[in-house]
């Protein structure tokens, strides 16, 4: 029984890693590129100054960019090192997870309908933005 559980866990882990590792490595490269080549002033111009616009923009970037599960972290961390605030990090990570992949979005549309899909995205964008402002204020 225990052997069976372990076998299932190992099989699932290997399957997940086979998918995740190349993407995660690619994300690490993107993270390093941001860290090395993008000056801190770029982020000051784009998202550093005006938090009011930066947080909803980060939510949208998270949704639009096709970043797979867990791969946002190296990129978000590189931005964090560059001085981007917690609110934007929160918005970016949360935006990424609500619109994880086109495949999932299509299946969600098929299963729960377009009205549900559109409403969920709209509500999530609004409340994640508010959450971003809250976390920026708290930390």
């Amino acid at each position: 029984m225990k052997k069976n559980i372990l076998q299932k866990v190992m099989k699932g882990t290997l399957k997940e890693l086979k998918f995740l590792l190349p993407i995660f490595f690619a994300a690490s490269v993107v993270g390093v590129l941001i860290e090395q080549y993008l000056p801190a002033s770029t982020f000051d111009l784009v998202i550093g100054k005006n938090i009011f616009w930066a947080i909803p923009a980060a939510v949208m970037i998270g949704i639009v960019f096709p970043i797979p599960r867990y791969a946002t972290y190296p990129i978000a961390f590189a931005l964090f090192v560059k001085g981007v605030g917690y609110g934007i990090i929160f918005a970016l990570i949360s935006g990424e997870v609500i619109g994880e992949s086109i495949v999932r979005d299509v299946i969600e549309l098929k299963y729960l309908g377009w009205r549900f899909f559109v409403a969920r995205f709209a509500f999530s964008i609004v409340f994640i933005t508010l959450g971003g402002y809250a976390i920026e204020w708290i930390l």
């Binding site: 882990t13 690490s28 993270g31 867990y70 917690y86 299963y111 409403a119 969920r120 994640i128």
Partner: protein
């Protein structure tokens, strides 16, 4: 070449954490069953809070839960409960715990869980209101 080696070092540093996160989510996937999710999604106000909490604690991709959510929706589970479950499930997952803490610290993760819970409730509540004028 320098970028590749720096990326490889950065990748290898996070690899054990990633491995731990994937292993944790695989274990949770085995021990948290569909039946327990069904049991906790009710058609009432409290259901929104419970479905958000259940969504937050369930591992794996949302894709795995979509078929059962369709069945629950057809069987009359409130759209508010489904909306809050999906929101909680997508925003936080057990597999993210180790990874997120290692990058941004426990306080950030704790706040993200609290906010995910509140966001899930707000989304569920919004669905409840919208359901009065729009048929889902």
């Amino acid at each position: 070449m320098d970028i590749l080696s720096t990326s490889l070092i950065s990748f290898l540093k996070v690899l054990p954490v990633l491995l731990g996160a994937v292993l944790l989510s695989q274990f949770a996937k085995l021990f948290i069953h569909e039946k327990s999710i069904k049991k906790h999604i009710h058609d009432n106000g409290r259901g929104v809070m419970i479905s958000t909490a259940v969504g937050i604690s369930t591992p794996g991709p949302l894709l795995a839960y979509l078929p059962i959510l369709k069945v629950l929706k057809k069987k009359g589970v409130a759209i508010s409960a489904i909306g809050s479950f999906v929101t909680g499930q997508t925003l936080i997952g057990p597999g993210r715990l180790i990874l997120e803490i290692s990058y941004f610290g426990p306080l950030f993760f704790f706040l993200r869980v609290i906010l995910a819970f509140l966001i899930g409730i707000c989304v569920g509540w919004s669905f409840h209101l919208l359901n009065k004028v729009v048929k889902f």
